[in-house]
Structures are given as C-alpha cells and as structure tokens.
C-alpha cells in the first residue's frame, strides 16, 4: 500500500473520530447546562441525584462506560439494541458499525456532559454576589440578570477549562475501538494485522496533532475575543 492509500484509509477512520467529537460536543455541551443547574438546585433531592450521577460518570473509566452502554441492554433485558441496529443498517443501507457508533455517542455525550456541567457550575458560582445584587436593585428579573449580566462573564471564565476538555475529547475518541468502532486507531491496527504494517499506527498521531493545532488556534482566538473586559 502506498503512503497515499494508507493516508486515505486512516482518513476514513479519522472521519469517525471527528463524528464522535462533533456529536459529543454539540450534544454534551448543552446537556451539561441542566445538569449544572440541578447540581446547584436548592431542592435537595434534585441536587443529590445530580451529584451522584456526576460522581459515577466521573468516577468510572470512560471505556467501562462504553462497555456498559453497549452490552447492558442485551445482558439485562435480552434486547441487544445496538447490535440489532448494526445489523439493520448494514442489511438495509450497507452502513457498518451504526449501532456501535450510537452506543459510543451516548456514552461520550453523557460522560462529557458531566464534566462540562462541573465547569459550568464552577463558572457560575465564581461570579460575585454583587453582580446579581446590582441587577436586583435595578429592578431586573432573575432571567434578565442571568442572560444579560452573568452569562457572558461565565463564558469568559469557562473558555480556558472548556478548551482543555475539548482537546482531551478528540484524543478520547480512540476509546471507541474497545467495541470495534473503526475510528482511526482501529484502522491502523487493521493495517498492522492484515498487512503487517506498523508505521501507520504512529502516523495516526499526525492527524491528532494537526486537528489539535487547529483547535488551539480557534479556541485561542475565542479567548482573545472575550478578553476585552475583566470580571
């Protein structure tokens, strides 16, 4: 196999990595917000449930969570929905791995939503009480205060920790190969097994590096754009 052929083969895998990355970010980032609000709730049971979920999700390896999501429906309820989905999409549309990818997306989204929620919570709680009080004495409603005064300050504060998580996320996508989803590292291992080529495995690092480089630039710009004020 030529260098170009290997690159194309790995790129197919990297598209799956990027898919997991994008969906996790697009679903996990919004989902983190209600979890954060529940963790800050004054209603004790809600707060407790939320804290326990975050504790479990952050306390168990993501790889194990992928196994649990993928295997538990079949083991406990005798309906292996994800492998059924695999078969259904393969037979009807010729798409491989669909069910496995969905399982991975669920595990990733839930996991990252919990991490994001803690970043949001930290950001929201770091805003001084005086900002809320200034809004109150000006007769603003709670929702106006949050949307017009608090939110932007929170965003400014959470961009650096969120950048960190986002950069970790693209590398975590490699965990999907634990249930044989053909992301980039799985593809490289395939080459090692079938063509006795080991170098593509190390070559995958270049894909990650280039993407993380891009992310660093974009996130750095966002951080700079928000630095026009100091809170």
């Amino acid at each position: 196999m030529s260098f170009l052929e290997v690159t194309a083969f790995l790129w197919d895998g990297f598209l799956i990595s990027l898919l997991i990355f994008a969906v996790t970010l697009l679903c996990g980032a919004p989902l983190g917000l209600p979890i954060a609000f529940c963790s800050m709730s004054r209603f004790k049971p809600v707060k407790a449930v939320s804290k326990v979920i975050v504790w479990i999700v952050r306390g168990v390896p993501l790889m194990l969570q992928i196994f649990i999501i993928y295997y538990v429906p079949g083991l406990l309820f005798e309906t292996p929905i994800f492998s059924q989905m695999d078969r259904f999409f393969f037979v009807n549309y010729g798409i491989a791995d669909a069910g496995r990818i969905v399982a991975v997306l669920i595990a990733f989204t839930l996991n990252y939503a919990c991490y994001f929620s803690e970043i949001y919570r930290g950001g929201i709680e770091s805003i001084s009480k005086g900002q809320y009080e200034a809004g109150y004495v000006l007769g603003l409603t709670k929702s106006q205060i949050f949307r017009k005064i608090i939110l932007k300050q929170v965003i400014q504060r959470i961009v650096p920790p969120m950048s960190n998580e986002i950069i970790t996320l693209i590398k975590d996508t490699a965990l999907a190969n634990c249930i044989i989803v053909c992301e980039i590292i799985k593809q490289a291992k395939e080459l090692a097994a079938t063509k006795a080529m080991i170098w593509p495995l190390f070559y995958t690092g270049v894909f990650y590096l280039v993407f993380v480089g891009l992310l660093t630039v974009v996130l750095g710009r966002l951080e700079k754009k928000l630095s026009y004020f100091r809170s």
């Binding site: 200034a134 000006l138 007769g139 603003l140 100091r230 809170s231």
Partner: protein, 252 residues
C-alpha cells in the same frame, strides 16, 4: 407628609438580631446620613430598604404606598418586591459595575430592559447623567479601564437612570483610595443641590456633618441618636454616641 417611612424594622440572621426595631422617616429632598461602628446594622438597614434582605417585621412606606409589610403577604411576592425595589436606588461600596458593558451601556442597560422610554430618550438621559458625574469623555470605556472613583461615579449615574425616589449609598467611598473620595463626595453633594432624596451610610464624619440634613447614629441594631448634624455632632445626648464621636476624632 414624609416621603419615606420605615416602621419598626427588625431583622435577624439565625440567632443574631441585627436590627432591633428601626423607625425613621425622611422628607423629600432631604439627605440622611447613617453613621455607626462596623456591625451596628447600618448596611443591613440599607439592604432591607432595597429588599436585598427582607425584614422579619416592620413596614416600609414610600409616598403613602406601603411597599413592604412583614405581616402582609401580598407585599412579599418576588414580583411585588422587584417592582417596589424601583422606588429605591442603591450605590454599592464595591461599585458592582457590569464588566462586559461600556460606561454608557452600564447606564442604559436597566432602562432599556425595563422599557423606560425609546432608545433615543434612554441614551439622552444617560448622556446627561454621565455629564453630571463628569464622565462624558469615558462613554466607551470598560469598567476595568477606570479608576475606583470613576467607577463609583458611573454607578451613581446608573442608579439615577431609573429615577429612584430615594437613592441609597452604602459606604460609597470606603473602597476608594483617599485621594479619590473627594470626587465621589462632590458628586453626591451636587445631587443634594438637585433635590435628590438620599440615604448615605458613611464613615466620612465631615461629609455627614456638612451635607446631611439629618443624622442617625446606630449602635447594636438600634437608633441610638437621631437629629440634625448640629444636634448629633454638637450636643450628643447618648453616652454611646459621645464615645463613638470621640473615637472618630481622637485617632491620633
């Protein structure tokens, strides 16, 4: 008839009784200074008037309208409290400007959100108020680019933009470097000439003596002495007041 009437306000935090029945009234255009040592309840009283703390008992009446009555549940709803806050303005010790907005936007934000006129009218008012506090050249600056004194003057303009009937100041110069207190106190004195009704919690005895129409000395959650500056500073009746004023003078 007095503009503001506070009757028998009490407030406890847990077992600590901070306000033990405060009553006073204030006429339109008057300036009231509240003095007293730290922990005497001055700031809590001011926060009660702005409903940042809700009094346990007592009532607050402005212009004949009962804004708050500890025994009347209709005045205790979130919405009633939000509306009634608008009778008061509050300038904080730490300014609490909104950092992501410019000076002008800080002043126009609340009137815009509360739909107090057209955008042009709101901006006109804001520009006039910022001129009044001497910051016409800082309209586009962000709070972190201003000195403490300038920030506090923006905060005053921001509070005035909603035309409160009573403007409260919570130790407005305590967070400022000594050379910056003058500019803020001059602005407050300027407001007195425009007939603004004000309550100023302050440690600046000279300011209280010269600007206030009436002075309240608070100690341990009660009004220990109340009267004109001449009475309170010149012929204090209570032993506590005398001791406090001596302490304030005999610093060196």
């Amino acid at each position: 008839m007095a503009l503001l009437e506070a009757k028998n306000i009490t407030k406890s935090f847990g077992k600590t009784e901070v306000l033990k029945g405060i009553s006073f009234s204030l006429n339109k255009g008057e300036v009231l200074s509240i003095i007293g040592s730290s922990g005497s309840g001055k700031t809590t009283l001011l926060r009660c008037l702005n409903f940042l703390e809700l009094p346990d008992e007592g009532s607050i009446t402005v212009g004949g309208k009962v804004l708050y009555d500890g025994s009347d549940a209709t005045t205790l709803s979130d919405e009633a409290i939000r509306q009634n806050r608008l009778h008061f303005g509050l300038v904080f010790q730490n300014f609490n400007l909104f950092p992501q907005y410019t000076v002008l936007e800080n002043v126009t934000l609340a009137p815009t959100l509360l739909k107090r006129g057209t955008p042009q009218e709101i901006e006109q008012t804001a520009l006039r108020l910022l001129e009044q506090v001497g910051l016409s050249d800082k309209l586009g600056s962000y709070p972190h680019q201003l000195s403490g004194g300038q920030q506090q003057r923006v905060a005053i303009a921001r509070a005035l933009a909603l035309r409160p009937e009573v403007l409260c100041f919570d130790e407005p110069t305590s967070a400022l470097d000594p050379e910056l207190t003058g500019e803020v106190l001059r602005v407050i004195r300027g407001l007195k000439d425009k007939d603004t009704t004000m309550i100023v919690v302050t440690h600046e005895m000279e300011f209280a003596r010269c600007v206030a129409d009436r002075v309240i000395y608070m100690a341990d959650g009660v009004i220990e002495e109340m009267g004109t500056p001449e009475q309170v500073f010149g012929q204090p009746q209570s032993e506590k007041t005398k001791a406090f004023l001596r302490g304030a003078q005999d610093l060196f």
